[in-house]
Symmetry: C2
Subunit: 176 residues, 2 copies
DNA sequence: CAAATCCTGTACTGATCGGTATAGATGATG
DNA sequence: CATCATCTATACCGATCAGTACAGGATTTG
């Protein structure tokens, strides 16, 4: 149910996802939606964001903090490429950040990116990089991923996403 | 009038910018809006996009193609920082690209980014870079700008935007 | 199988949506 | 000043909005 909602919010945005379009796309009737999410649209979006957050925590952030750095970073690039379908799918958190929807979910949005940067910087430090430099490189990588999602969708060109990801992966592993 | 509309669409997104919120924020009544934009909301957004496009064409793309490369690229970074208010303002074109709004303005959105990348690659080629390498570096820079806008707003941190821009400028001027 | 609980389709609410019609205000032109 | 074109405020339209109420269907529980 939550994945269906996620896809709808991703494609339509928070404001664009009206109740009728949600039921139409997910096949879930209004009765069911309000049974599970008495708080309405906002609670639905919050549940979606929570699941996205959990997924990244489990499959990206935690491995970055826990596993051997090089392997975890390699897995991150693969997981990111797969999760975002090589740019065919956007980042809901990033999209929500751009308009006034941000105000509703500010702390979730902030935490998602902050923890991503922190976890990546942690892996870089453990791989021998200096702290400041690791943080800059981590920010740069997350920035690059978000930008690649915007551009690959704007240009409707998945190859741009893969190309950008490759370049960023190379840069991150070489970085001075 | 168009700048007022631009700010409204930027903050609320296309779907979030209802007629009542537009009149409320801009002070322009419904009568005037429909007098100048008989095509309604879609025509308003199209006018805004056209003005954004013209601004970048005049102050970024054209200089990149015409002026001395190093100077034009330097001016691009300064203009971008100023236009986006160091991350305090988002890119309307990028935001529209993320949700279904893209479908309405697909060719404008595509052209905006395509011409940016082309113009920047042109400047890089004229500064002695190989064509393929120039294009990759140009894509990378535009990707980085869009990503920096997403993250600086997500983290509500303008310093991240400035930091990211500096790093990208340095990288672009050094690039192998 | 009966009873209680959980789930869902449908009909409805008042509010707001994008858009229209128009009368009168405003400003330019002679 | 008179005329005419331009502009704008207001009332209004049907459609759709988010959300509620609830009856009845489906499922679990004993």
């Amino acid at each position: 149910m939550v994945p269906l909602l996620a896809e709808t919010f991703r494609e339509l945005g928070f404001e664009g996802a009206t109740l009728s379009r949600i039921t139409e796309r997910t096949g879930i009737g209004k009765g069911s939606l309000y049974h599970f999410f008495p708080g309405g649209k906002e609670e639905m979006a919050a549940a979606v964001l929570a699941e996205v957050d959990r997924w990244f925590e489990d499959f990206v952030y935690e491995p970055l903090r826990r596993d051997e750095p090089a392997a975890a970073i390699g897995a991150m690039w693969r997981n990111v490429d797969e999760y975002f379908r090589s740019g065919g799918r956007i980042c809901l958190v990033g999209a929500f950040a751009l308009d006034e929807t941000r105000e509703r979910f500010a702390s979730t949005i902030n935490g998602y990116f902050q923890r991503w940067i922190d976890a990546l910087a942690d892996a870089l430090v453990r791989s021998g990089r200096a702290a400041g430099e690791a943080r800059a490189a981590a920010e740069d990588a997350v920035v690059g991923i978000q930008g690649a999602l915007v551009l690959s969708r704007a240009l409707d060109d998945k190859s741009l996403f893969k190309r950008a990801l490759d370049q960023m992966a190379k840069r991150l592993s070489v970085t001075a």
